[in-house]
């Protein structure tokens, strides 16, 4: 059901159990994956941090999960996503949803071209259990397995011990 996502989230774009001291480092590391893969200019990574400083931690969308991004004009070259899971969670200053364990990065050169993939992310957000599995994953492959599994498999999936 989440097959769309593996086009974007795969061994090249997922890093697990990353060590970060604070939210800014986490967002920079997520942005650097997009930069290293040629999906964004370095200015886009700066933008991802700039908007959190400007508007606050609104990119934290649910408990433990943040969706880091900037605007197309900040230097987005391709529709791309990436994800890091944190060894130790960081605080973004969100009133309800801190601390954050999973940071996803998003780039889209034109608005709304990434609707399908974001709709799939919506589906992940709805399933508390999926986020729990992502949080505990030791390797990118563990996370890709979840995206590729259908709902039946998912309900049988054991949550890995942290």
């Amino acid at each position: 059901m989440l097959g769309n996502l593996t086009k974007y989230l795969n061994e090249k774009t997922i890093r697990t159990q990353v060590e970060c001291q604070n939210w800014e480092e986490a967002v920079r590391k997520v942005g650097n994956i997009l930069f290293e893969n040629g999906d964004v200019e370095s200015s886009y990574v700066d933008g991802m941090i700039k908007y959190v400083k400007k508007y606050g931690p609104y990119i934290v969308l649910m408990p433990g999960f943040a969706l880091a991004h900037a605007r197309p004009e900040d230097g987005a070259k391709k529709v791309a996503m990436c994800m890091i899971t944190l060894k130790t969670p960081v605080k973004f200053g969100h009133e309800n949803y801190d601390p954050v364990y999973v940071v996803m990065g998003l780039s889209a050169p034109a608005k709304e071209r990434h609707v399908e993939a974001l709709a799939d992310i919506c589906n992940i957000l709805k399933e508390e259990k999926i986020l729990e599995v992502i949080k505990c994953a030791q390797a990118a492959n563990d996370i890709m397995k979840i995206f590729n599994s259908d709902e039946t498999l998912l309900s049988q999936q054991e949550i890995a011990p942290s």
Partner: protein
Amino acid sequence: MAWKKVNGACICGCGMGSSLLLKILLESILEEKKISSNIECVDSGSVPNDLTLVVTSSAFEKEMNDRFEGKIPVIAIKDFYGKGELESKLRDIGVID
């Protein structure tokens, strides 16, 4: 009476992350209720004028309330998990029955 048509904007800092999630939620609710809609995603700096409804993340609630001064309803959402919060707020202001 539910609204016949919604000319709305979903607003966040960049117009492509949380606002797009809000748009997906909003459109699916309106479609279910058979209300026609034209929903745009925009960043908080480029909000169009001819709107009948604004949906935003709670981080932008004050900015949008100041901007629209009660002329059109502004819905601020905290919960992006599912349709629950948005649906009940749409019902509160009469967009849906």
